[in-house]
């Protein structure tokens, strides 16, 4: 047990900082701290329920080992240790909290393996898988997965509304009632209860020792029920509004309805599991037995090792050196509470002969992650109108065009980066279209929470010449790229997206495009100035 504790200390020394970052990050990505906390408690509880088994297996294992006189293989220790160290190193270098979390889980598994051997790993394997699931999907996939899921849910809502003879209109994933002549974005802000449902389904499977086939099938049907639940929920609320109800006017009713929806999703997932268990009993039950069987007959590997205090000290030292060396190389750490950043930006009433007017009641679009804020200004000159939007977020923002795609715009042609000869801070220009006669030209530039341009993270990479996250951090570590945002061309810290766009009925002519670019230069200078002023306070 002493060895296990020491190993955990070493692990925390190596990736602890990243874990803290991960917790902050994951909590916002998932919507609330409660969810991550609850997930960790559930994982702990599951581990606790298996403690007796863990010890029992270990005893069986030791007895068998003694009987068969199998010795540990020192080379495997080195192999596993080097792999762990490499993972920790890459996690630090890429400054990836997600990889940090995975490294932590790997090292935890390794420690359990070291202490309890293969049976220990077999006992906690499902829990480790559950904890891996806590890691959000990579940032490049997550927004698009959300988009696809919401798109499916919205489609299903439209189907149901059609059957209810309710006339509606849509802007991408967001639906509105024609009778109200209003969109209801609050009902279409991404499918809710997906991660909690799937987590509960996996936890349920672990607790009842379902086989992997049954659990996988249940996860898939849970995703289906989440979509159906969200669609039905939105339909019911819209139908209520259509027929004169006022549920939508009371947030508490909507919240209550959300919980009812969650209970219904869980119920139907359970019911579906029961139905499949009775119909496909052979597959499900066989799958169910796998874990029970191997509890009796665990094939033992000769890999079994015990480390002395010196060995532990060596490992701890290695991790500390690795962690500290990276830490000491000095990352730029953004500490500004960015959700207030957009709110604090003040633009003058005139910029480069463009009249600037702030749009009333800036509402943060519901599909942006928690902690985001958006502000918009209208710029007018000689009857020409442009809109400036500054969106900031405490987490990595969505890719540039995400909110546009959410509201039904589609890319007309591949976006291109302007000023290719500059080192970074290149604005991206995109042509979007929605319905006929609705064209939008967007100039946008975004940064992640470290001030890096959001290019490598974007699924719309489009052969960007900028290095990716890992490559960029490596270049920084080697001194090939500046660390501090002050040295950059665009000095917007934290995750911040600046977009300047024109909505028109036709594609912009070259003259208007030139004006857009000129306006962009003037605007970004002001936004940078404002942001720098704020950050220096």
């Amino acid at each position: 047990m002493k060895g296990l504790i020491l190993f955990i200390i070493a692990t925390l020394a190596a990736v602890g900082a990243l874990l803290l970052e991960y917790l902050r990050y994951a909590s916002f990505a998932q919507g609330s701290w409660i969810w991550v906390g609850a997930a960790l408690v559930v994982a702990g509880a599951l581990l606790w329920t298996r403690r007796a088994e863990l010890l029992q297996r270990t005893l069986v294992n030791e007895r068998l080992q003694r009987r068969e006189r199998v010795q540990g293989d020192p080379s495997s220790i080195v192999l596993l240790g080097v792999l762990g160290l490499t993972l920790a190193f890459i996690a630090q270098l890429a400054h990836s909290p997600f990889l940090g979390w995975l490294t932590f889980l790997y090292l935890l598994g390794m420690a359990v393996y070291g202490e309890f051997g293969k049976p220990g790993i077999v006992a906690i394997r499902p829990i480790l898988i559950l904890l891996i699931f806590l890691n959000p999907v990579p940032i490049a996939c997550e927004p698009w997965a959300t988009l696809a899921l919401q798109s499916t849910s919205t489609s299903m809502t439209t189907v149901m509304l059609d059957f209810l003879r309710i006339f509606f209109f849509s802007e991408g994933n967001v639906l509105g009632l024609i009778s109200e002549q209003k969109l209801f974005p609050e009902l279409f802000q991404g499918v809710s209860w997906l991660f909690p449902t799937v987590f509960i389904v996996i936890a349920w499977g672990i607790h009842y020792r379902y086989g992997w086939i049954r659990t996988t099938v249940n996860v898939f049907q849970a995703v289906g029920w989440v979509i159906v639940g969200n669609a039905t929920g939105a339909t019911i609320l819209l139908a209520n509004k259509q027929y004169g109800g006022n549920w939508l006017d009371f947030p508490s009713v909507v919240a209550l309805w959300d919980y009812v929806k969650f209970v219904a999703i869980l119920f139907f997932t359970w019911s579906g599991d029961q139905f499949l268990a009775s119909t496909l009993r052979s597959t499900f039950n066989e799958s169910n037995l796998v874990e029970g069987q191997d509890s009796e007959a665990v094939p033992l590997l000769p890999l079994r090792w015990k480390l002395s205090g010196i060995h532990y000290g060596l490992v701890i030292g290695l991790f500390l050196v690795c962690g500290l060396s990276i830490r000491l190389s000095g990352y730029y750490r953004a500490i500004l509470p960015s959700q207030t950043l957009a709110e604090r930006i003040e633009l003058p009433s005139q910029i480069d002969s463009w009249t600037v007017e702030q749009l009333d009641s800036p509402e943060t679009p519901a599909w942006l992650p928690a902690g985001s804020s958006v502000r918009s200004w209208v710029l007018e000159r000689d009857g020409k109108k442009m809109i400036l939007e500054v969106a900031t977020s405490t987490t990595t923002p969505k890719p540039y065009l995400y909110s546009w795609l959410w509201t039904g715009w589609r890319l007309e042609k591949a976006p291109e980066f302007l000023d290719r000869d500059e080192a970074d801070g290149k604005p991206m220009m995109a042509q979007l279209a929605r319905l006929p006669g609705e064209v939008c030209t967007v100039l946008a530039l975004g940064t992640d929470q470290y001030g890096s341009p959001l290019i490598a993270n974007s699924p719309l990479e489009l052969g960007s010449k900028l290095p990716g996250v890992v490559q960029e951090n490596l270049l920084r570590a080697l001194g090939k790229m500046p660390f501090k945002p002050e040295k950059r061309n665009l000095k917007i810290p934290l995750s911040c997206t600046v977009s300047l766009f024109v909505v028109s009925s036709r594609q912009l002519d070259s003259e208007m495009l030139e004006e857009l670019k000129q306006c962009w230069t003037a605007i970004t200078a002001w936004v940078n100035k404002d942001v720098l002023e704020l950050t220096s306070r």
């Binding site: 159906v228 019911s271 029961q274 268990a277």
Partner: protein, 524 residues
């Protein structure tokens, strides 16, 4: 075994249903391709009339919904419990599948409902609703109706004054140089002609011709008129006349345009012929339906243009028997104004006054009458005539006959006399209070107030400004205002007000002179 026996009849029915579905589906597919090539099976035709696929789909779903729950009774007790727990999910899943499949099947019907709703909303002038319905249609157009849907969306936008979107939509479905959706070509042709009138160019004419050639007008008259406008823009008078002739056959009103065209071409005979044709058509219409007011007015108009005033008067007076309304009276009033215009210089004052008085009797609000009265009085400024005229109008005033005109005339006549300022102010003020829309009264009142002996410039400016409010087509009113402002010494305001009007009416000498007077004064 028991389960198998139980399910067997359902399975057989299921297979039969599928077979029927396949056979009729094939037949329908063949019919769609080529009706003659399809085998003549009357029973198939009968079957195909039913929403068969829907019926079979419903039947199969029902079978599924019956057999699956019943299957539970053949399970072991433990599994049966499990099975019963799973039924809610099964039914819910079945419902979802049914809804999704049913929606796919009835998709056309749903979208057509939106189509109907969009048209109905636009018919009720509820354009926002119309556009929202059309929006949904554009997102999911009914099968083979993409262009119709887009057209509907474009029209909705046009009705909502979102011309740019409407134009972009129409350009997408009726592009230049490629045959598109005919009604959209029509829309673009109408749009282009307006655009051409504001900024002419050869490209626009070429484009207009393309869209006219590919449009499908339900309204042939409109099509011919657009062609006529195109020919006219290309200075092809012969073709214009031919086209107008065709249009006039559909609507004789266009005989007037044809007559004007021929008159401009100095082809008086053809011009007269066109008017004669109009007379012929409208006279026939009145013969058939004597109460047809529009035709009667047009007939009178044609007579008047042919200078057959007596017949015109007779036509309209006969019309008063059917319609004692203002339209008919105004038409008659206009006729008297035309008669006045047609009088030669040799006619004396009383002869000239007579049609104007008649016109005034018929239409108290006729601006044309007041303008002509003013002109007539200005030419008869001798003292005796003025006194005689004043006496006539005073008698009219006492008799209560058209007090507005009487006040106006007396005030105007008094204003000519330098000592008659107060009388003029009072009478013109009365005329103005009786009929505030008479800009001329305001203007005259202003002139009176601004006279050297009165010098009530502030009031004069106020009335002069009221006179010009929204009266850009009457530059003479601006001259009065300009003169008052100059008298007040406000040269800057004079230039500001007169400059835009002077650029619009460069030929108006009085206006140019007033402007230059202000400009000279400001330089000093």
């Amino acid at each position: 075994m028991w389960q198998f026996l139980f399910e067997l009849p359902f399975r057989v029915l299921h297979i039969i249903a599928l077979a029927i579905d396949w056979v009729t589906g094939r037949w329908l597919a063949l019919t769609e391709l080529d009706e003659e090539a399809a085998p003549d099976r009357s029973w198939m035709r009968w079957l195909s009339l039913l929403p068969l696929r829907g019926v079979i789909w419903l039947f199969n779903t029902t079978l599924w919904l019956i057999t699956v729950p019943v299957r539970g009774f053949f399970l072991s007790p433990a599994n049966r419990t499990c099975y019963l727990r799973g039924l809610p999910a099964f039914f819910c899943f079945s419902c979802m599948v049914a809804i999704v499949v049913g929606h796919a099947y009835f998709r056309e019907r749903f979208t057509r409902r939106y189509n109907a709703q969009a048209i109905a909303s636009m018919g009720k002038k509820n354009l926002v609703d119309g556009i929202l319905h059309a929006k949904r249609l554009v997102a999911v157009p009914p099968k083979n109706q993409e262009r119709e849907t887009l057209y509907l969306y474009g029209i909705a936008n046009a009705n909502l004054e979102r011309r740019d979107i409407a134009e972009a939509v129409m350009a997408a479905i009726a592009p230049d140089g490629r045959i598109g959706y005919p009604p959209a070509h029509q829309f673009r042709a109408i749009d282009l002609i307006k655009d051409y009138e504001s900024s002419p160019s050869q490209e626009k004419l070429d484009s207009l011709q393309w869209h006219l050639e590919n449009s499908s007008f339900r309204d042939q008259e409109q099509r011919l008129l657009l062609w006529a406008k195109l020919y006219q823009a290309r200075n092809n008078d012969t073709k214009t006349a031919e086209t107008l002739q065709q249009a006039a056959k559909l609507n004789p009103l266009h005989y007037f345009a044809l007559s004007e065209l021929e008159l401009n071409r100095e082809n008086t005979i053809a011009s007269k012929q066109a008017l004669e044709s109009a007379v012929e058509v409208f006279a026939k219409r009145i013969e058939e339906r004597p109460a047809d007011k529009t035709s009667r007015i047009r007939l009178a108009s044609a007579f008047a243009k042919l200078k057959r005033f007596a017949e015109a008067e007779k036509t309209l007076i006969a019309g008063l028997e059917f319609h004692q309304d203002q339209d008919m009276r105004s038409a008659l009033s206009e006729l008297f104004v035309l008669q006045f215009d047609g009088m030669t210089e040799k006619a004396n004052f009383v002869e000239k006054l007579s049609p104007l008085m008649q016109a005034m009797t018929l239409d108290l609000n006729s601006r044309d009458v007041y303008l002509r009265l003013e002109g007539l009085f200005s030419r008869n400024m001798e003292e005796p005539s003025r006194k005689e005229l004043t006496a006539i109008f005073e008698r009219l005033l006492v008799s209560g006959y058209n007090p507005t005109a009487a006040h106006f005339a007396i005030g105007f006549l008094a204003a000519i006399n330098p000592e008659g300022s107060s009388t003029a102010t009072w009478h013109l003020g009365q005329a103005q209070s009786l009929q505030p829309t008479i800009a001329l009264a305001y203007s005259n009142l202003a002139s009176v107030l601004a006279r050297p002996e009165t010098k009530r410039f502030d009031e004069a400016e106020l009335f002069a400004r009221q006179a010009v409010a929204g009266q850009i087509q009457e530059p003479a009113l601006y001259v009065v205002l300009g003169k008052i402002l100059i008298a007040k010494g406000d040269f800057g305001a004079t230039i500001d007000i007169l400059k835009p009007v002077a650029s619009k009416f460069p030929e108006l000498q009085a206006l140019q002179e007033t402007l230059s007077e202000a400009e000279t004064a400001i330089k000093k």
